[in-house]
């Protein structure tokens, strides 16, 4: 069937991911025109905000790294069919655990930094494990468990910065005192970018790439995500793999949180994640679960969001424009779906559906007896 499709149709399928991006840019431009603002000027201001000075470029990179960490972690949970909305809370827990080491222990950087990273990954993993066990043992959907845990993580942060960890000069509810220098990741020049974090993100990316391509564990997760019941009958333990996948993602999210406190900031702040967990969910969806696209889309997000900070300074437009642009883009992705679903790339109307329809139909109707039977137990 695939061969029957013309090669002309296949390039449409290949550039399809760009369509929502372009559509979002057009839509946002229309919005700007509606408010009598010049889209060209706005986008130029955004561009300058992201790439205007070397410092700004480094900021874009520094913001990009935790998003890559979370996104590749989410690829693992998405592969297993899990909606790890709790990734936001896992970032926060990672940040809290790293901060605990930075505030409570002292020592040389070569000792503190691995401890901070280890604590952050452990904290994120355990926070994710709670959502996972709630799912496997308590039948609580990971989306709801994750949302609840996100709130708890934020409450915990607020408690810490206004209570036990408040700076000596008094609580401002904004953050802890800056960490000791040895606790911070070594940064590049005067920027917020730490080369070490880039190395870690590279390692995480490679690890996930190989897990999903060439390991039995990755294959088990794939089977679990596609058909949990068949996977179980083939010998995959859904409980074990669910918990492990969530913990793996939690560890990477926790690492992302550590990067946030130890290089983007220098202390634990009130909104430490900056929403990068939710952004990462959008990135993975936009990438249609293809890992090679993830760094690029994450980078694009980083550019838009960093660029829109200066937007407000240069033009009269609010910096929320960046958020609007990314949000609209995601809506367009969901709207357009994949080229295949919309029937683009078919040689003839309806013919593309045939191979999918054949196995589906008997399962629905002919074997209707079988499946009701299966559900009923006997």
């Amino acid at each position: 069937m695939n061969q029957a499709r013309t090669s002309g149709a296949s390039w449409i399928a290949r550039v399809w991911p760009l369509v929502p991006v372009v559509a979002a840019l057009l839509f946002t431009s229309g919005l700007l025109l509606l408010f009598h603002a010049s889209p060209g000027e706005a986008y130029r201001a955004m561009w300058d905000g992201a790439f205007g000075t070397p410092d700004k470029i480094l900021s874009v990179v520094a913001f990009w790294i935790p998003m890559v960490l979370c996104s590749v972690g989410l690829l693992v949970t998405f592969t297993a069919g899990l909606w790890n909305i709790g990734v936001e809370g896992q970032i926060v827990l990672g940040a809290i655990c790293a901060s605990w080491v930075a505030l409570r222990l002292s020592g040389p950087a070569w000792l503190l930094i691995p401890l901070e990273i280890g604590a952050a990954m452990l904290g994120g993993a355990l926070w994710a494990a709670i959502a996972a066990v709630l799912k496997t043992r308590g039948k609580v959907n990971e989306i709801f468990g994750g949302l609840a845990l996100n709130n708890l993580a934020i409450i915990l942060t607020n408690y810490l910065i206004s209570g036990p960890w408040q700076p000596p000069e008094g609580g401002t509810f904004r953050g802890t005192a800056p960490f000791q220098d040895a606790a911070l990741l070594p940064r590049f020049l005067e920027s917020r970018f730490s080369p070490l974090s880039l190395v870690l993100a590279g390692l995480a990316f490679a690890a996930v790439f190989f897990i999903l391509r060439g390991t039995t564990w990755g294959l088990k997760l794939k089977a679990l995500g596609k058909n949990p019941h068949s996977a179980f009958l083939l010998g995959v333990s859904s409980e074990r793999e669910t918990v492990l996948a969530m913990m793996f993602c939690g560890a990477l999210a926790g690492l992302g949180g550590a990067v946030r406190v130890l290089s983007w900031f220098d202390s634990l702040r009130q909104s430490i994640s900056g929403g990068i967990g939710f952004l990462s969910l959008l990135i993975v969806m936009l990438a249609a679960y293809r890992i090679l696209l993830v760094p690029f889309i994450a980078f694009f997000f980083s550019v838009v969001l960093n660029g829109s900070i200066t937007l407000q300074l240069k033009t009269q437009l609010h910096s929320a424009l960046g958020g609007i642009l990314t949000g609209v883009m995601v809506l367009f992705v969901l709207l357009f779906g994949s080229a295949k679903q919309l029937g683009i790339g078919k040689t003839r109307a309806g013919s593309g559906d045939a191979p999918e329809a054949i196995p589906a139909a008997p399962a629905d109707s002919i074997a209707g007896d079988i499946s009701t039977h299966a559900r009923g137990g006997d």
Binding site: T216, W217, K222, N227, A361, S365, I366, D369, H373, G376
Partner: protein, 487 residues
């Protein structure tokens, strides 16, 4: 209302689910629609109730051709279907559920609805509290509510799909009484789709029998169960001669096993299957045979009794532990229970192999899968995805993924949907397993298959297992009696 179906055809891909079915239903009568599993009953009733359109053919109500857009449209024209699983909203109250889809105004008229509901319930002897929430109701009460909803919606033709599954004996009596009232006093047309021949004989005046998508014929009731069984399954086959196999030690033993679910209790099963033996479970669907198999597979725990595999007490072991102990299970739904759509054959092999490596050696596994592909004659390549295979090839893939050696092999409908050649080949593969001392236990809706391939047979009826019969010595009459529930 008089219903006429003319030459109804429904085709799914290459499968003819309904192949030119015609029938006539007069008002004021209860009809039965029977047939073995997969005969096309559900498809036909879904067409009549507007759930899906036929590929071709005509539906006539009171001699007027009609065309249904949806189940709601069918109900508006007088045809309502009561599904096996009630289509209600568990968190809702009864009254809300009753109004749902009936009253679409902004402000609901609860008072009238309450009166209407109470009146209808009283007429049929139903016991429904309008303020109770659905999830507090029993299966029987939910069914009563659904019936009332259909009747209030103007149903003149009612289709009941396996209505007595999961309801109490008392509720069953009320249901039957209401069905008689609907037909005798109110002139409605009722169609009962059921596997339970006793009920069919008790209630219905006429049975239509389907087999493999075709109408076999009609039969006035009551008649002997054997006659219906023969119509449903075709003529009783003669057992083919095959070499006797020297049986070994008992592999599977069930001792006083009792299984309880909310629908059915299967009491006191005692069974022993020996190495190299092929044991068949016959009976109409939902009679308990599948529960016994699930207990043997570790997918369900018995409420009482012990299960032994290879002399080891495995009662309460989970499925994966059973697998490691040498149990293999092939379920009926291939792509739903066993194969993963979107994964390649090689990927299935990697998952199914007992020895797990951290890194996958794709090359070695691909070579191994290629070998199994030729051994099992699968039409496909190692990189083909499982959903791209035909049904027969999916079945062969499932067999190729089973580990060797196996102590016990459990099969549900091993050749369902396969053509004769594929079915034959499947059995050849299974006979090879016997050489390794594997005990085979299988369920089939196809009596030909059970008689031709089993060494011994047990028949299930309403949760009870019959005496074990020797396949070589059984007769058509004997099995017919046992399936109908007579000892």
């Amino acid at each position: 209302m008089r219903v006429e179906l003319r030459d109804i055809r429904k085709v799914f891909g290459a499968v003819k689910a309904n192949d030119g079915i015609s029938l006539t239903l007069e008002s004021g009568k209860i009809y039965a629609l029977v047939g073995e599993n997969g005969a096309g009953k559900s498809t036909l009733m879904k067409i009549l109730s507007g759930y899906q359109p036929p590929t071709s053919g005509e539906i006539l109500l009171d001699d007027q051709p009609v065309r249904f857009q949806s189940p709601a449209d069918a109900l508006a024209q007088g045809v309502g279907m009561l599904y096996q699983d009630p289509l209600d909203m568990p968190p809702f109250r009864v009254i809300d559920n009753y109004l749902l889809g009936r009253d679409s105004r902004l402000v609901l008229d609860y008072k009238t609805a309450r009166d209407e509901l109470a009146q209808l319930a009283a007429r049929y002897g139903f016991d429904i509290d309008p303020n109770a929430t659905i999830d507090s109701l029993s299966m029987g009460q939910r069914q009563q509510l659904e019936l009332v909803r259909l009747l209030a919606g103007g149903a003149q033709v009612l289709i009941l799909d396996e209505p007595t599954t999961g309801i109490s004996a008392e509720q069953k009596e009320i249901l039957f009484e209401s069905m008689r009232r609907m037909t005798n006093e109110e002139g409605k047309t009722v169609i009962l789709v059921s596997h339970k021949l006793e009920e069919v004989q008790e209630l219905c005046i006429h049975a239509y029998v389907l087999r493999r998508g075709k109408m076999v014929g009609g039969q006035s009731l009551p008649c002997g169960n054997e006659l219906l069984v023969e119509m449903m399954f075709g003529h009783m086959p003669q057992r083919s001669r095959r070499p006797l196999f020297q049986l070994g030690q008992p592999v599977l033993e069930l001792r006083d096993v009792t299984i309880s679910t909310y629908e059915l209790t299967v009491p006191d099963i005692n069974l022993s299957v020996r190495a190299g033996e092929v044991f068949g479970f016959a009976g109409l669907e939902g009679s308990g045979q599948r529960l016994v198999m699930q207990v043997c597979a570790g997918l369900m725990a018995p409420s009482k009794g012990q299960v032994y595999i290879g002399g080891q007490d495995v009662t309460g072991w989970n499925y994966h532990r059973m697998q490691a102990h040498g149990m293999g299970y092939v379920a009926a739904g291939r792509l739903e229970e066993g194969l993963v759509a979107g994964l390649s054959l090689t990927e299935h092999l990697v998952l199914a192999r007992p020895e797990k490596q951290f890194f996958i050696d794709w090359k070695a596994n691909e070579t191994e899968m290629s070998q199994r592909i030729s051994t099992y004659q699968i039409v496909g390549r190692p990189e083909t995805t499982a959903d791209a295979l035909s049904g027969g090839n999916q079945q062969r893939l499932l067999f190729s993924l089973l580990n060797t050696p196996l102590k016990l092999l459990l099969l549900e409908h091993p050749t369902r949907g396969l053509d004769v050649r594929s079915a034959d080949y499947t059995w050849q593969l299974l006979y090879q397993r016997r050489e390794h001392g594997t005990a085979i236990l299988f369920i089939s809706a196809d009596l030909d298959e059970i008689i031709a391939h089993s060494d011994r047979i047990a028949v299930f009826s309403g949760g009870r297992m019959s005496r074990v019969v020797e396949a070589a010595q059984t007769t058509a009459e004997e099995l017919g009696h046992l399936i109908g529930g007579q000892a």
